[in-house]
Symmetry: C2
């Protein structure tokens, strides 16, 4: 309670100016009460944020693993059910089939849409989120079961906790709180929740195109909370990198061979693959043409980066490295956000278990990706990378077959941080946290941001609530209780701020 009292005593002018804000205060009190007072009437009404999050985390909705597809369908059903429960008009949109590498196909998870309010005098926002997750296994190095939400010292551990299940729930709880207190939403709120984000939003692009003039026709703004702060200071995100994800497959003998019996007589696919991947031009992305497309760093950007709260030492200690690629803040942030980078994720088909095996793998597939930035074009990068790897491979004069496939080609996204949407974000952050947000970009990819922009022409804001140390895609992913709770308050405040934006 003290926190909110302090907050409002420091912001008394807002309280006098906005009656509405007293309502928000009552929301805060309700929320605080709900979570910190075990015997409140809210708990008896089953309003438990953590219960729903626990149920959601328990679903292994890994979109990259087709054997988990039924879990993913179930996750979409649960999402739709939750939105219905809080009063939304919900639809589950069939977005078709997914073609698999073996030639068969499998149903894509349905996209869940929901609508709260249809008042034409109000602004309409559309919240985008996803409820699929990256792969996770206990034996990857998790301290707890990744599919059992575990509260340790105020952190809620579980795969998908921060990316993106808790933020989606925080948005649902935002409208739920309005409904619980029987207060009209200040804006109409729509939801679009998908289940294929982690593997490239398969099916969603077409759905957005198809519903451009229906579902999206009355949408003013799109809000995405699928990212994290840069430090302990809240942030607004105005750009993301894209991603070109490649499979480089080298196929040789018709089956795996004994390395003693056959070694020395055959050109080995692994040697070919490692040879072309180890070529310096790829590692440093000196592939002809790739870096030339990158936008130059402006003086204004340089100054913005200088002012951002970011401590290299804690970044190093967080990831456990003594040395980074760059030793000053501006270079480091620039290479995290607005320069391309290549990562080799692993190799399928080779021996990957513990122990020893003396095998010559017959077919090996390297997985690597190049993060895209303005003004790179995935279609051009695809050709540059494919041509380059084939030219390096040709020099090896190997009888093995190389094939390069770009399985994801997601464009970067960039917004104007001076847009009213961002001004509203700054105001909401100031109200809830009493600080100015950092204006940041995201090294990762939310491909759909770019699609929303290109297809609907609507303005987009990324409004993160996840912590900088949440470990997305990593072992021991978590979101803190603090970020989850204060983040929900931020969303409540943000809806109010957005309702104040003048039409212009």
């Amino acid at each position: 309670m003290l926190h909110n009292s302090d907050f409002f005593s420091q912001n008394s002018k807002f309280i006098s100016r906005f009656n509405f804000f007293l309502t928000i205060l009552s929301f805060y009190l309700a929320i605080e009460f709900r979570f910190f007072s075990r015997n409140s009437e809210f708990i008896s009404r089953n309003y438990d944020f953590f219960l729903t999050l626990r149920q959601w985390i328990a679903v292994e909705s890994d979109s990259s693993d087709v054997t988990k597809r039924s879990d993913l369908h179930r996750m979409m059903d649960m999402t739709a059910e939750k939105l219905r429960l809080v009063g939304g008009s919900v639809e589950m949109v069939d977005v078709g089939m997914q073609a698999l590498p073996n030639g068969s196909s499998i149903a894509l998870p349905k996209v869940v849409t929901a609508r709260f309010g249809e008042d034409p005098s109000k602004r309409t926002v559309c919240v985008y989120g996803h409820v699929d997750v990256q792969p996770a296994k206990k034996e990857d190095g998790w301290a707890t079961d990744p599919y059992e939400l575990t509260d340790i010292d105020g952190n809620l551990y579980g795969r998908g906790a921060s990316d993106n299940k808790a933020p989606v729930l925080a948005w649902i709880h935002t409208v739920e709180v309005y409904k619980a207190l029987n207060i009209d939403l200040p804006v109409n709120v729509k939801f679009i929740i998908e289940g294929m984000e982690e593997t490239g939003s398969n099916g969603l692009d077409d759905m957005i195109v198809a519903q451009k003039d229906s579902f999206f026709s009355d949408v003013d703004y799109i809000i995405i909370s699928d990212c994290v702060w840069l430090s302990r200071r809240p942030a607004l995100t105005y750009g993301t990198r894209g991603n070109c994800y490649f499979f480089a497959e080298v196929e040789g003998p018709k089956k795996d061979l004994h390395s003693g019996v056959y070694g020395g007589t055959v050109m080995e696919p692994m040697t070919d693959l490692i040879g072309i991947l180890g070529a310096d031009l790829l590692g440093k992305i000196l592939i002809p043409g790739v870096r030339e497309a990158v936008a130059h760093l402006s003086d204004e950007e340089w100054k913005m980066y200088q002012d951002i709260e970011f401590d290299l030492e804690s970044y190093k200690s967080e990831i456990g490295l003594s040395q980074l690629m760059y030793s000053n803040k501006v270079d480091l942030l620039a290479h995290r956000w607005r320069h391309p980078t290549v990562s080799i994720h692993g190799i399928e088909g080779a021996f990957s278990s513990a122990g020893t095996k003396t095998v010559i793998p017959a077919k090996v597939i390297a997985k690597f990706s190049i993060r895209q930035v303005p003004n790179m074009d995935p279609a051009v990068v695809e050709k540059q990378v494919t041509d380059y790897l084939h030219s390096v491979f040709a020099k090896r004069k190997s009888p093995n077959k190389l094939s390069i496939t770009m399985v994801i080609g997601a464009k970067p996204w960039l917004a104007d941080p001076k847009h009213p949407l961002y001004e509203a974000g700054k105001a909401a952050v100031k109200r809830v946290f009493a600080v100015e947000p950092d204006l940041i970009r995201e090294g990762g990819t939310i491909p759909i941001a770019r699609t929303f922009q290109d297809v609907t022409g609507k303005s987009i804001i990324m409004l993160p609530i996840g912590g900088f140390d949440d470990g997305l895609h990593s072992q021991n992913e978590k979101i803190s209780r603090y970020n989850y709770m204060e983040g929900t308050k931020l969303f409540i405040a943000y809806l109010h701020e957005v309702s104040q934006i003048k039409k212009y």
Copy 2:
């Protein structure tokens, strides 16, 4: 029956010279009868070679996977039991504990020894074999369950069928046949069967040293049947390559990182690892000093290689490649048998599943091995490879940690193909198959051959019965019924030939 009649009509002088051979003929008849006549008394007595082989194949005795250790112990128990059943004096020798990378330890499988006969007037041979196997999973690309012996068109498919369970059983059946027919063995026969061959015969070296003057004191010759023919022509093997198996580990961040969020700011362990492995000097083994130690090909060897039955076209078609490393028989055989080669088997710790994952793996371990030939020395190779990789890595100026470990360091082995043991082998092959055997070497490693030679000083012969296309260490490993049956006859004939070797 026709086969045997033909054989003996072509070798009539032997029949007149050796009464014993009539006994062998009765063995053959017994064996043929046993397998091809379903109602024979042998079958009623449960003498079914395939039944035992089926039971043995069903045990996943993978020595490289510590989680399968109880299966491996069971396999050793079954081996001891079978040897006892056919009348051997059996011991199970405790060879101590295996240290694991995580600092703990686990019991090694016991070594099974057995003795048949103690007549000091007879020669004593010691048959070595192993009953552990390489890893195998159905999803690796097996057409059948690798742990269920499956008979298709006269081939018996299953992991370990040819390497080395059926050959071990063929030797046990050899003494079993003598016992069944109540005939004295022409030589004393000892067995030494281990369960750690596929991972470097951990514990066996010390056991051989310890029993040098006890178990091995009365042994004249050591016979190893852990290899295969080169073509459809039977072969005697007089050399094997050794193997230095390396782990190259690069450790960076304290946990896996999201490649979007962190890519561009950290030096990635995978990039470092692929970079040092892709360096040309490793792939072509131009690491300073490594190739200099290799013995030169003599004119005599060149002529021997020329005469060997080996068809490059069928070799290519067997493995499914349009082009080999060398296009003539002598070069190809030389690089298969008596030149070093490097194979990269795979990477542990990176993403290796199907699908996409945008991860920067925190710790990755490449597994590669260099086959050893005379006059290379594993200890020297270990230093050369370690120094070289560290020097390449140092140039990268990476904050990640590289550590190189040689986990197997097995020396090559070379025998004199004119030794009486080999003359006996030639005679036995001529008796059973009516052809001269090829004198070949083996590209793979049977490290224990070298240990037997160095520690006991006894002469060794490798007497293979596996087919050239058995697919050791590969998917769909098999042994043919023909090789299994005729191979058993070869062993029976060989014991007789060895009993005729003059002491000198």
